[in-house]
Symmetry: C2
Subunit: 558 residues, 2 copies
Amino acid sequence: MNPPAQTDTTPAPRQWNTRALEKARRLKAIEGWLDNGVLKAERIVDALETLIQSGDRVALEGNNQKQADFLSRAFAKLDPARVHDVHLLISSISRPEHLTLFERGIARKVDFSFAGPQSLRVAQLLEDGQLEIGAIYTYIELYARMFIDLTPQVALVCAVQADRHGNLYTGPNTEDTPTIVEATAFRHGIVVAQVNEIVDELPRVDIPGSWVDVVVQADRPFAVEPLFTRDPRHIGELQILMAMMTIRGIYERYGVTALNHGIGFDTAAIELLLPTYGAAHGLKGKICTHWALNPHPTLIPAIESGWVESVHCFGSEVGMEDYIEARSDVFFTGRDGSLRSNRVLCQLAGQYGVDLFIGSTLQMDADANSSTVTLGRLAGFGGAPNMGHDPRGRRHSSAAWLSLMKNDGPNSAIGRGHKLVVQTAETFKKGGEPTIVDALDAIAVGKQSNMPIAPVMIYGDDVSHVVTEEGIAYLHAAEGVEERRAALSAVAGVTPVGMRADPAKTAELRRRGIVAYPEDLGIRRGEAKRSLLAARSIDDLVAWSGGLYQPPAKFRGW
Amino acid sequence: MNPPAQTDTTPAPRQWNTRALEKARRLKAIEGWLDNGVLKAERIVDALETLIQSGDRVALEGNNQKQADFLSRAFAKLDPARVHDVHLLISSISRPEHLTLFERGIARKVDFSFAGPQSLRVAQLLEDGQLEIGAIYTYIELYARMFIDLTPQVALVCAVQADRHGNLYTGPNTEDTPTIVEATAFRHGIVVAQVNEIVDELPRVDIPGSWVDVVVQADRPFAVEPLFTRDPRHIGELQILMAMMTIRGIYERYGVTALNHGIGFDTAAIELLLPTYGAAHGLKGKICTHWALNPHPTLIPAIESGWVESVHCFGSEVGMEDYIEARSDVFFTGRDGSLRSNRVLCQLAGQYGVDLFIGSTLQMDADANSSTVTLGRLAGFGGAPNMGHDPRGRRHSSAAWLSLMKNDGPNSAIGRGHKLVVQTAETFKKGGEPTIVDALDAIAVGKQSNMPIAPVMIYGDDVSHVVTEEGIAYLHAAEGVEERRAALSAVAGVTPVGMRADPAKTAELRRRGIVAYPEDLGIRRGEAKRSLLAARSIDDLVAWSGGLYQPPAKFRGW
């Protein structure tokens, strides 16, 4: 009960700086491989073998855009007899060598958010017992744990440039780097940064040198994927119809000004209809003014037409650099002129600062639960769960948020609004498979992989609206589970779920405004033509940008 | 429909860098008052009058701990004929001059999170029509909007030191500064930093100089409040009883390892019981290992006893600096040895990375809605709403989180866990007023102030447990609204709500484990003695710390 200072049998004092000492010990061991403070590139495998110890938590920067690929390639070459059982923290398992780490026995356990391109291999390694999943996260949830119980011993990150003091310039693709580095550096972990080049003076400092331990110049510039580029040529008339309904039936109706668009052709169609269809309905300045969004090339026509006040970005997009720099009133840019993105802050903005999230789904059940997980694939969640839920910590109001208020709790004086969480889906996929199904594949995948709960991306009780090519279900206005299901069935077409719709109930729901078909919104299906798109090709986007947008080669038709 | 480049009546090209130009214009106008890049302190009023324009959004760093008080004092001296109708963004309205801005007509509108010490004056100014409230927020929600539609034209922040390049050292009280600066600097706003001193070399860089426009040396070190210091002398036996119940009935039962404690004596009691009562029950290493928490002095005995693996902090605490530096295995510290706090990242950790939030409330209704708002005061929310809700974007599991899972939705295969959101309250306040009431004062306050919804701090449907001196209501286990109310009534003592408890129903709830009285948890009320506290005074805390904790003068009894 008494303070130990007052007892006379005090044990030997505990050492309270073991982490800092261990860090110093490891760094000391690689000292000989440094040249003027910079690690010699040819020593990278030796250095990682010294800096990383078996059992360490290692945060490897690999997200859905930029990749610390020089470091990940070196990491995969370590001797598993020396370094094994590493616990990998990675937002996106994107590159083959990320899984080589497990095949070779260097890493054992992984906590991650997204595994799109490698999702089949993740499932296979899990089945073979070569990989153990800690958990699958939405991005910022993984970062949150880096400040609690998953602080990394080592972080492997990437930047564009470093100066002689270790200051880093991350440039347009700042993304996750500051967060990973902060979690590591301030808990006495070791921060290793690969850079494209080392210069005397940086355009600006994104991460101070006193947070960085080792800088190494990579053999080639870090890899980065143009993940958010959608070629308007591939936008079809059903997507245009859904976009028209979304603009009139949701954005106009609720006056949605601050929003996030998920990735895909459905949302690209909306972006490309603003300067045409949206303008024709007098909506400029009334909707879609403030965005939490990657710099989608398909937003260029809306920006050029004066629709967009501001865009805060999770990351950047290949080819958009010059355009962003020339539109600094709209984007967040530094003194050097280039974009400052920040995934955590943009996710925060997308969670708490905007009124609407809209995203496409690959599969949805009768209760509007949805998932992009399909059998045999462990794709993960990305950022959707964070933005596609009703943030119950929100306390500020907006007209859009208040319009979804229900006072159906036990006390009618205590109410709160609701985020607009919109899911879009064509009722059938290209291959003829229904999108709206009785049971999500995610349930079976969860069981197969021994997950404690099914890996649902967006939960139905968070979803306020579902848009299909048939119409809009205003789920937030439905009363009770059965009526929600009836509303969703009414827009589910000839899927098994849609076939159960009762025409009389559907008619009632349309009268009450809980279901709207295109004609209920003043939209003729025949209007939904590609000629409505402000840009119909990548070439058009380049023209809109005045030549500032420089699409990657694979998107060029010329 | 066509890109404008293809039309022949293109209007004059729009200027796309008006923000950057305006910033350059304003900075140019104060150039003559700079001395080697640093603003002369005697010119601060002139400079602010030039840098701030009427109608600007100005983010003033004033949180519940540190204050940019040199800048706020100067700000309040501006000529309202020159600068008026400013829109103030401030996390905590703490200082008298924050409201002088409104009395003098310099500022007009405010968005804020907390107004504890000034809450009466806020209410008065609002009634007098001198102040307009944009909205009241939980902290990170306000920051989120700084990246969307509330980007500041000017930010007034504070740091410990600057170097000649404008790099800032914020030291232990880093808190909100990096976030406010990022939102401002990268949208071409002007960042003005007051510093305690200007030095040749900083201990570490917290904010790069390329994000900062103007540095000024303040007349005295910035103000900072020891807000999280609780003198153990004021912890009473009811609080000790509640702490015992919380430890056994919640922390032990669910195996809570990662958590956040709200401010107050209730949670201080828990912290001080860990090394004594908690240890006697064999709980060391099993509960309370990872924290999102300010450096509470009352956590010192638990740290010294080896309970605590890590603490990530929102801010710092006056007097704890040397202790933190000497315990770097536990705290997040920089190369220089001092704490790196970060309010946004700690709020994120507290939202998504921990399993439990516990906080005290001043008033709670029969449905467990609670608020610290009382009549005539507009106190705001602080951080509680962000941490005191079930984060529905969470996708990772833990044993504690899963133990609150209910599969009571329409589809039993789709379930998710729930955060432990615990509210503590003695049934009566010191003055004899009941804490548990039929209608929250917040409802009347909301109406009086024309708020769109009542300013509820924590919503009852997010609350999983209520702890009073009578017992614990396990609300998450109750079935339906009526049973939740019955469970809460059963622990509401002789308040009006408690008087409605039906003894037969209470007995049933105790049998089913939905209500637990101390004896149901193996706790004798007579055990709840102050002798159980690991420290019974500030002096004891100093002794536990080996003299490293240096309490502010007002807490010293010697």
